[in-house]
């Protein structure tokens, strides 16, 4: 396809810079890209590269997913030329820790707070503040977007 030139440039830029991204970058369709970063430690360099060099200067949202052994996160990045890139990374369920991206993009605060409340992810570097979106008297240790959560658990069953 000829109309995916921009996407191909981004793909080649990513793959030449990061060797571990070979075959992990996909062009779904025009203006939709997908990048899979398997190791959490590799996430930050890729993110910074996308943010600073390739003009993906906005996080549309952060999706948390409960996928078997891992929690995975999709950072939906957007640039001002209309390309949307899903940057996926993983953290093991045994120690769900990620680092905040707020120092780069302050607008991500609410999305990260949502990960804390809904998935019980420990987000390092997130400033203290009111919780979002669950109520203040929500029982501790219950994270509703996890797949093993049932609403009966609210009654302590």
């Amino acid at each position: 396809m000829s109309d995916t030139n921009r996407e191909q440039n981004i793909q080649s830029s990513l793959e030449s810079k990061f060797s571990f991204l070979k075959d992990k970058t996909k062009i779904r369709r025009a203006r939709r890209m997908f990048v899979d970063v398997e190791k959490l430690s590799d996430f930050r360099p890729v993110f910074d590269h996308l943010f600073n060099e390739l003009d993906f200067t906005r996080i549309c949202m952060i999706t948390g997913l409960d996928e078997g052994e891992n929690y995975s996160f999709i950072y939906h990045l957007a640039s001002f030329n209309g390309i949307e890139l899903d940057l996926k990374t993983y953290t093991p369920k045994s120690s769900p820790n990620i680092k905040s991206v707020m120092n780069t993009f302050p607008g991500a605060e609410l999305y990260e707070r949502e990960l804390v409340d809904m998935f019980g992810i420990n987000v390092e570097g997130l400033p203290e503040g009111p919780r979002y979106p669950l109520p203040d008297d929500w029982p501790q240790g219950q994270y509703p977007m996890r797949k093993d959560w049932k609403k009966e658990m609210l009654d302590g069953k």
């Binding site: 996080i59 549309c60 949202m61 999706t63 209309g82 949307e84 899903d86 607008g107 009654d155």
Partner: protein, 406 residues
């Protein structure tokens, strides 16, 4: 005067939906601003995982009353992308027409609310009266005034016939004339200008840094419009301009919205004129093959993002959505710096907030089924909350009132 903490919300006449804002005041000046969100948390993302795709259209349509077409279209687009189904061109045009009519009604609604927030109720009454024109039209086309229910997988549920096209053009003529009048009022009435100019300033750099979207971002000079950048439905086949302003304040946002209405009328005329004949819906399987897709939509308030992950069954594995207000809320703190208390309502209203859209997820009922609290239980809950959170004990006061039989 010492710093005073003024709560604005969760229940406050300025807010149409519950959301807790707090401002710290020095006289009438705002020193600091805080917010507590989540009062409208309805568990939609979790609920979407437990429903079939067809049920989810209507669930996600109800994320927001005003942007109902935006949310359902974004969801349907994502699912269609996973399913690999190309919808007929006529369906694309119908979706675009409803989406633009929705923008007209949303922007006119905003104009009225903005008028009300600055104490100009006449503007509210007039713009809402004119909004009825488009509401009646939507009721006629779709069968409902707000939740249109037009979308289904593979197309739309109802056709727009020749007669309805005539009605649309007629309504557009009326509305265009009225919008011109409102543009004149908003830009030339001294009291409105006085209340709007310089209020809620946010620079272009901050807009980019905080990820502000929609008319709020465009009023600060960021020309970002999903309809142009990432065209969906039939937007790649029509001509229109992205309206921006450089004043970065509430006045700019008002002007951007009003001028956007003029672009919308232009778009509607093109859509009606170019609408192709043919099918308006194609068959779509009940079960969607595994896959994932992200879909973006330019709702009246800004960019609306949906992410859907399918696992091959008739229910989605994960639905994630972000309403424009959530992206815009982060900028409110910046906007209110060095403003007056009197500017809080209009500055918040200027992002066209829709808190219900913002919050979404989690169960309403705890104790397996409906949960009806007695008056006494509610009171007790309030007392406990104040004791734990604020350190104020109302137990004695409560006893006193109970003794008085209240």
């Amino acid at each position: 005067m010492a710093t005073v903490r003024v709560p604005i919300g969760p229940q406050h006449p300025a807010l149409k939906e519950p959301e807790g804002f707090v401002v710290w005041l020095d006289g009438e000046r705002i020193k600091d601003f805080g917010m507590r969100l989540g009062y409208n948390h309805r568990g939609i993302e979790k609920a979407a995982e437990m429903r079939t795709y067809i049920q989810n259209i209507y669930l996600l349509e109800r994320v927001c009353g005003i942007c109902s077409m935006a949310h359902s279209t974004a969801f349907v687009q994502a699912v269609e992308e996973i399913g690999g189904v190309e919808i007929p061109r006529r369906a694309k045009y119908i979706r675009s027409i409803i989406g633009e009519l929705e923008r007209v009604h949303s922007h006119l609604l905003w104009l009225g609310v903005a008028g009300h927030e600055i104490g100009f109720d006449t503007l509210l009454m007039y713009s809402w009266r004119d909004r009825e024109v488009v509401m009646d039209l939507l009721a006629k086309i779709s069968g409902n005034r707000v939740h249109y229910g037009m979308n289904t997988f593979g197309g739309v549920r109802r056709d727009i016939t020749k007669d309805l096209c005539e009605d649309i053009l007629k309504a557009v003529d009326i509305l265009e004339e009225r919008t011109k009048y409102y543009i004149k009022i908003a830009t030339e009435e001294t009291t409105i200008r006085k209340r709007l100019t310089g209020v809620g300033y946010i620079s272009k750099e901050d807009v980019i840094k905080l990820g502000t979207v929609g008319p709020t971002g465009r009023a600060s000079g960021v020309a970002m419009d999903i309809r142009k950048d990432d065209p969906y439905a039939a937007y790649d086949e029509v001509e229109f301009n992205v309206i921006t302003a450089t004043s970065c304040d509430v006045y700019g946002r008002a002007v951007v919205r009003l001028l956007e209405l003029m672009e919308t009328y232009k778009l509607l005329r093109q859509f009606v004129k170019n609408m192709p004949d043919g099918e308006f819906v194609v068959r779509f399987p009940r079960k969607v093959q595994a896959g994932e897709a992200t879909s973006r939509y330019e709702a009246p308030r800004g960019e609306d993002v949906h992410y859907v992950k399918a696992n091959g069954t008739d229910m989605p594995e994960r639905v994630r959505l972000r309403a424009p207000t959530m992206a815009n809320l982060m900028s409110v703190r910046k906007m209110l710096e060095n403003n007056n208390l009197a500017d809080v309502p209009i500055a918040i209203a200027a992002i066209d907030p829709c808190f219900s859209c913002t919050d979404r997820s989690i169960t309403v009922t705890g104790n397996s089924g409906s949960n009806i609290l007695t008056w006494e239980q509610i009171r007790q809950q309030g007392i406990n909350w104040y004791k734990n959170e604020m350190g104020i004990d109302f137990t004695e006061l409560n006893k006193k009132y109970q003794n008085r039989g209240l």
